[in-house]
């Protein structure tokens, strides 16, 4: 359909038609050609190279496990050489599902002390983007996975699950759930946000306990952060909706797997904006027992990325420390307490390239190194994630242009 095929003498009516076509062709061509360009994925197959979201975890034997989303499927593979080569991928999902592609969604994996693997992920179950959290597990070292099952029997929207094994080998799961919206509306009440629900599994993720509510009316469009404290109790950080519609971060420390503690505020950012930031927090707990949180806010009191720590189990937090250069759209902060101290990474964008910036702390977050750029890419990329084995912490980063990237973070002298 090149324009050359139309450059010949024809009656006027056909010339008019040709003119109309020429006008229509650019739009059509753009619509057809833009598909690949507009995608966050490098390719459409289920292989790692095509993944948009990749989540890492180390097994007890030092094997690196990845789960990823590509070609409409969730897959798993492992590496025994720090990401240089991978085992043949195992597909966790059978049918092609409408996986939750939201900016803060990703498949999760957790590995217990015996090397058993639990997986959780979300799908969009209808055209209105109502979500469903599905879980599965492997009891043969990742060679096969049970068919994925809903984490709860309830059919209202669920998204943004997190999972982790506690020290006793129980899977703890938390997610955002809209089930309380319908009864509230039936009572004629306005319902904001979603409930933070949780459940646990004593069989490695095969079956979960009944869902329970930890906090209602939390922000419905941001991921959660989960860590376990020194006693093995789950700690969850999330964007809450405080009085007056203020979407600031809150933290809950559980006193048992079924007992959420009091809700405390991480920071007073005054994020009084009815909007979806699609930008959740990160939490790690250091061997000293200190909680370390990073987050994004667009509040009235402060805007951008911030870090704060709590040395009293999340009751009070230090003054927020600004992270990143405000004119470089700093985003996606991640924090991890590893064998060599605290590591924080985040993205910046200079108009052309996305860079991963690093800061480290060797005094439990009291002081931080100057930021340094440790990686960059010139096309779209997943969030920078941190994963630690017994010896060190690694940056785990999926990029469209340069593929999957696992990079040891060198300890500072």
């Amino acid at each position: 359909m090149s324009s050359a095929s139309m450059s010949y003498r024809k009656p006027a009516a056909l010339m008019v038609l040709a003119t109309v076509m020429l006008a229509a062709v650019p739009n059509l061509a753009v619509a057809q050609m833009s598909h690949q360009h507009a995608s966050e994925a490098a390719c459409e197959e289920t292989v790692l190279r095509c993944a948009t979201k990749v989540t890492p975890a180390f097994g007890p034997d030092g094997t690196l496990w990845l789960t990823w989303m590509a070609g409409g499927q969730i897959s798993v593979a492992s590496s025994k050489d720090q990401g240089k080569s991978f085992s043949a991928p195992v597909q966790v999902t059978r049918d092609r599902l409408n996986l939750d592609w939201g900016p803060d969604a990703r498949p999760k994996l957790a590995i217990d002390a015996k090397g058993e693997i639990a997986i959780a992920f979300s799908t969009f179950r209808d055209q209105a983007f109502n979500g469903q959290v599905l879980t599965t597990r492997s009891t043969d070292g990742g060679r096969s996975f049970d068919p994925p099952k809903p984490i709860t029997v309830n059919n209202e929207s669920q998204r943004f699950e997190v999972i982790g094994f506690d020290p006793a080998g129980t899977v703890f799961a938390a997610w955002l759930d809209k089930r309380n919206r319908v009864p509230a509306q039936q009572r004629g009440e306005k319902y904001d946000g979603a409930g933070l629900f949780f459940a646990s599994s004593k069989d490695g993720g095969a079956t979960y306990s009944d869902a329970q509510l930890a906090a209602d009316n939390t922000c419905e469009c941001c991921r959660l952060a989960l860590a376990f404290d020194g006693a093995g109790h789950p700690v969850v950080v999330f964007r809450n909706i405080f009085e007056g519609g203020v979407r600031d971060h809150a933290i809950v420390t559980f006193s048992g797997l079924a007992t959420p503690g009091d809700l405390h505020r991480v920071s007073r950012d005054d994020g009084q904006i009815a909007a979806c930031p699609h930008h959740g927090p990160s939490l790690t707990i250091s061997p000293e027992g200190t909680y370390h949180v990073t987050w994004y806010t667009n509040g009235k009191a402060r805007k951008g990325l911030f870090y704060a720590r709590s040395r009293d189990g999340g009751k009070t937090f230090s003054d927020p420390l600004a992270v990143g250069q405000p004119n470089r759209s700093p985003s996606r902060p991640q924090i991890a307490a590893g064998p060599q101290g605290l590591v924080m990474v985040w993205k910046e964008f200079d108009g052309q390239k996305t860079s991963i910036n690093l800061m480290t702390s060797h005094d439990d977050g009291a002081t931080w190194s100057k930021p340094s750029v440790i990686a960059d890419t010139a096309d779209s990329s997943d969030h920078p994630l941190l994963v630690s084995d017994r010896r060190q912490t690694y940056l785990s980063w999926m990029t469209k242009a340069d593929g999957y990237h696992l990079q040891a973070i060198e300890g500072e002298p």
């Binding site: 056909l14 076509m21 900016p103 009815a274």
Partner: protein, 165 residues
């Protein structure tokens, strides 16, 4: 000649679908689109609304904007779907139609590297939606983060009307 005839037949066969794809479908918003948009509306009071099909607050606000457009024919109303994965033109279009915004100037992010689209619009914008930018006749931009209050939009619109006189 035979080849020419074949070409014309192909054109005739594809024409209706080509026109259908162009009409009413959100336009692809790419690198450079923001400057073109600003240029095209220069001198006209323009409301640019950023939203997305999965954004809860957007679902409430969109029909209000549809009504605003009806009530303010003097304001250019532009919507830009800024969800990070712009592969849902059908859902986008059907939500716009239901909100009464089918006839607005509608765009959809069309770059897997959404950061660079946002950077051209406002380097400080992290992608929070909804977001509304009010562009006055003189080019002054007022940004409303989160859901806009229709009363504020009306006030702005009245002020724009006043500047004509």
């Amino acid at each position: 000649m035979k080849r020419h005839l074949l070409a014309v037949l192909i054109l005739l066969a594809t024409l209706p679908s080509a026109l259908a794809a162009g009409e009413g479908a959100p336009r692809p918003f790419e690198r450079g689109s923001w400057q073109k948009l600003l240029h095209a509306h220069a001198g006209h009071p323009t409301l640019v609304h950023f939203w997305g099909v999965t954004c809860g607050p957007c679902k409430v606000e969109l029909p209000q904007l549809g009504q605003f457009m009806k009530d303010h024919p003097g304001i250019d109303v532009v919507t830009i779907s800024a969800d990070l994965v712009p592969n849902l033109p059908d859902a986008t279009r059907s939500m716009l139609d239901r909100a009464g915004l089918g006839s607005a100037e509608n765009w959809i992010f069309d770059d897997g590297f959404a950061e660079r689209l946002r950077f051209e619009i406002d380097p400080a914008w992290q992608g929070d939606i909804p977001r509304t930018m009010l562009i006055a006749r003189d080019g002054t931009i007022t940004t409303i983060e989160g859901s806009a209050e229709i009363a504020d939009l009306n006030k702005w619109s009245d002020a724009q009307a006043a500047t004509i006189r």
